[in-house]
């Protein structure tokens, strides 16, 4: 009941009835693409509103209250405003690169959802290298930040771009190594496969098998998503706004929404790898649809990321590098060794 996975299969079957298979592939690709895009846009709108509400309540104020019930329509109003804004481009900017940077940023954020299992059977394409694919595709985010920083022809933007490149490259290493632990346990790279390997109650979740791996992953993922305390590429107080200082209007909105989509992406991966994905807490709770479990767990993770942001100060750029290379990296290696031992011992 209420499982959405069946719907997609049904649509596929129905299309197969009267169309040649090539057309079915194309049509279903378009449909899923639009569905994911629509879902992510709504999600980003929701997350922006949610963050504003969370920060407001943490700071003992209300946040948006006027547009709609408790300000739910505030982000839409902001979006409409941003659409109407003049699209400024600095005179000496590199026009082509400046234009493409936000598109690549948003595109990379969007592409990652090709392999995210939202629920039982709700996955666009269950690639058997799923997790590797996500790591690979998110590197385009850093390319786009570099492009934005460079093309703006602004020193602050350039500094922001350089910081983000240094940061993301550094944190990609412990992040990937933290993922290796889960892959070793599940013996597959496929996202669905990893979820299935954690079936049967919460004690099978990998967060209890390799807490160290989860810790490393979550810290590195916070840095990958450019969230406080690691939000140094756009540190408002130091670099004014970092790489997106010159962007306005819709282009700025794309960077902004991509940040929230990325935040959800790292949360979704955390849930998939360490919290059993769409698996229920206990198997007798299986009557609750799998996508509800997935969304619930992911939003909790997003909430924690937001909690970080409104509690911690920002770490300094060299401290950030030291932390990645001297603390997280050895920890990630230790995790791999421990997981290897565990697999051999407990078989």
């Amino acid at each position: 009941m209420f499982e959405l996975g069946g719907i997609f299969e049904a649509i596929g079957k129905w299309l197969n009835g009267f169309l040649p298979p090539v057309w079915v592939t194309i049509i279903s690709a378009v449909i899923t693409g639009l569905a994911v895009l629509g879902f992510l846009s709504l999600l980003a709108l929701f997350l922006v509103w949610w963050e504003r509400k969370i920060s407001a309540h943490m700071q003992q104020r209300y946040g948006p209250m006027r547009t709609g019930w408790h300000g739910v329509l505030q982000t839409i109003a902001d979006g409409v405003k941003l659409l109407q804004k003049e699209d400024l481009m600095p005179k000496d900017a590199d026009r082509i690169v400046y234009f493409w940077a936000p598109i690549i940023c948003f595109g990379a954020a969007f592409m990652a959802y090709l392999v995210v299992p939202f629920g039982k059977g709700i996955i666009v394409q269950d690639l058997n290298i799923g997790i590797l694919y996500i790591i690979a595709i998110t590197t385009f985010t850093v390319v786009s930040l570099l492009m934005a920083g460079w093309a703006s022809n602004n020193k602050w933007a350039l500094l922001g771009g350089m910081r983000s490149a240094a940061q993301i490259i550094s944190y990609e290493v412990p992040l990937s190594l933290a993922i290796v632990g889960a892959v070793m346990l599940a013996q597959t790279l496929s996202m669905n496969g990893i979820v299935s390997a954690q079936a049967g109650g919460f004690w099978h979740w990998y967060v209890f098998r390799e807490p160290l791996g989860f810790l490393v992953y979550y810290i590195a993922a916070t840095a990958e998503a450019n969230r406080t305390p690691f939000d140094i590429p756009e540190a408002e107080q130091e670099l004014v706004a970092g790489f997106n200082i010159e962007y306005s209007g819709m282009k700025f909105a794309m960077f902004f929404l991509a940040e929230f989509v990325n935040m959800f992406t790292v949360s979704a991966i955390a849930v998939t790898l360490f919290f059993g994905g769409w698996q229920p807490l206990f198997s007798f709770l299986g009557f609750i649809p799998s996508w509800v479990w997935f969304m619930g767990k992911s939003l909790v993770s997003v909430f924690v990321l937001m909690w970080f942001r409104w509690t911690y100060p920002r770490i300094r750029v060299d401290q950030l590098m030291n932390f990645a290379w001297k603390f997280l990296l050895p920890l990630a290696f230790l995790n791999i060794i421990l997981v290897g031992f565990g697999i051999v011992v407990f078989k």
């Binding site: 920060s55 500094l159 910081r163 004014v240 509690t311 920002r314 770490i315």
Partner: protein
């Protein structure tokens, strides 16, 4: 081959005049090697209004509202500095009650000013939440000021010979309520920041201001006390009635950003103590010694100074016996404190510069006047 032999280029950026962390319009031209700062040149004067010149063209009483604008974050203290100088020049006696009210207002404003500093300092380091916490308490102080003099930022409260308005009935209970909750609120801020490892990383050993440098640059106020110098004009040259109150002078040890932070946090508690003693001992009576509208102080000159939230604020007034000052020189704390930034800011990263600038608590209108 080591890195030093490799040829590197220096990189110049303009930090300001419109930058979120300069807290006003100050331009810092920074020469950087990578992200490490090699040279800082401050450019000020964007807010120069020549208040000293205005002072020569206004009567003594007319000038009080202008003092508000010298330091808009601590207007009460700025008022206080001027009226003390003018009273000393003319030999005006101030009623007891007015002195107490002045101390209450000045110390409340010191707390409010330190709260603004805390808020902006935290935000400079990327912590947004303490900002709103600090402004919540500042709001209570501003409410107290509003009910007394109708203003929330530039008060024009003190006048030569006393204060302009007496406190209303509801002032005292509100103030006592504030004093009751304030220490626990300071604990809240400390919970958020003081022992947070990231905060410690960002402030410990950052921007060390040695005693010697502090002396040479006449750094004053909490920034000086952070370097371990127990110097507070309220104690050292006890003006007004500060000798009647019991309070400590918090000092730091290393002179880094963290010490300056600690000194200000503890100073807020000390100020609350002073306000408590002042409100308990508040006598009745007049609030003003009548000073004629065309007040002519005798010919002569005077130099007085007070401890404003940011440090020493001094007035040097020369009178030629007319209704207007002949010359008025205003010495403000930020003017001297800002000069150490190029000394203590180099060889740090740009993120540290923001922390150092925040920890010095510079108010640009005070520099530019």
């Amino acid at each position: 081959m080591t890195v030093k032999e490799l040829k590197t280029e220096e990189f110049m950026v303009n930090m300001g005049p419109q930058h979120p962390s300069t807290h006003g319009v100050c331009k810092l031209v920074i020469k950087m090697d990578g992200e490490e700062i090699k040279e800082i040149t401050p450019h000020v004067g964007f807010l120069h209004r020549s208040i000293e010149k205005i002072g020569e063209n206004r009567t003594y009483a007319q000038f009080v509202p202008y003092t508000d604008r010298i330091d808009y974050v601590a207007s009460m203290n700025a008022n206080h500095a001027y009226v003390i100088a003018a009273e000393k020049l003319g030999g005006v006696e101030v009623p007891e009650r007015a002195e107490y009210l002045r101390v209450i207002m000045a110390e409340l404003n010191r707390i409010a000013s330190h709260l603004v500093w805390l808020a902006t300092f935290a935000i400079d380091l990327g912590a947004v939440t303490p900002f709103l916490y600090a402004f919540r308490e500042r709001e209570m102080i501003l409410d107290l000021f509003e009910m007394t003099c109708g203003q929330r930022l530039t008060y024009n409260y003190m006048c030569i010979g006393g204060v302009n308005w007496d406190i209303p009935k509801e002032f005292e209970p509100k103030l006592r309520e504030f004093l009751k909750i304030f220490p626990s609120r300071v604990d809240d801020y400390e919970d958020l920041l003081t022992n947070n490892p990231i905060f410690l990383y960002r402030t410990k050993n950052i921007g060390i201001l040695s005693k010697e440098t502090a002396f040479e640059y006449s750094v004053s106020g909490p920034s000086l006390r952070g370097s371990g110098v127990k110097w507070d004009i309220r104690k050292a040259e006890s003006y007004s009635i500060y000798d009647r109150f019991d309070f400590d002078i918090p000092v730091g040890y290393n002179g880094d950003a963290w010490d300056r932070y600690r000194v200000r946090m503890r100073e807020m508690r000390e100020s609350a103590k002073i306000v408590q003693q002042a409100i308990d001992g508040l006598p009745g009576g007049d609030i003003q010694t009548k000073v004629p509208r065309t007040w002519k102080p005798p010919e002569g000159e005077v130099f007085t100074r007070i401890e404003a939230p940011r440090g020493e604020m001094a007035y040097h007034i020369v009178s030629d016996g007319s209704t207007k000052p002949y010359r008025m020189k205003i010495r403000t704390a930020s003017f001297c404190n800002l000069q150490v930034l190029p000394i203590i800011g180099i060889n740090h990263l740009i993120a540290d510069l923001v922390a150092i600038f925040g920890s010095l608590d510079i108010i640009l209108p005070e520099v530019d006047r």
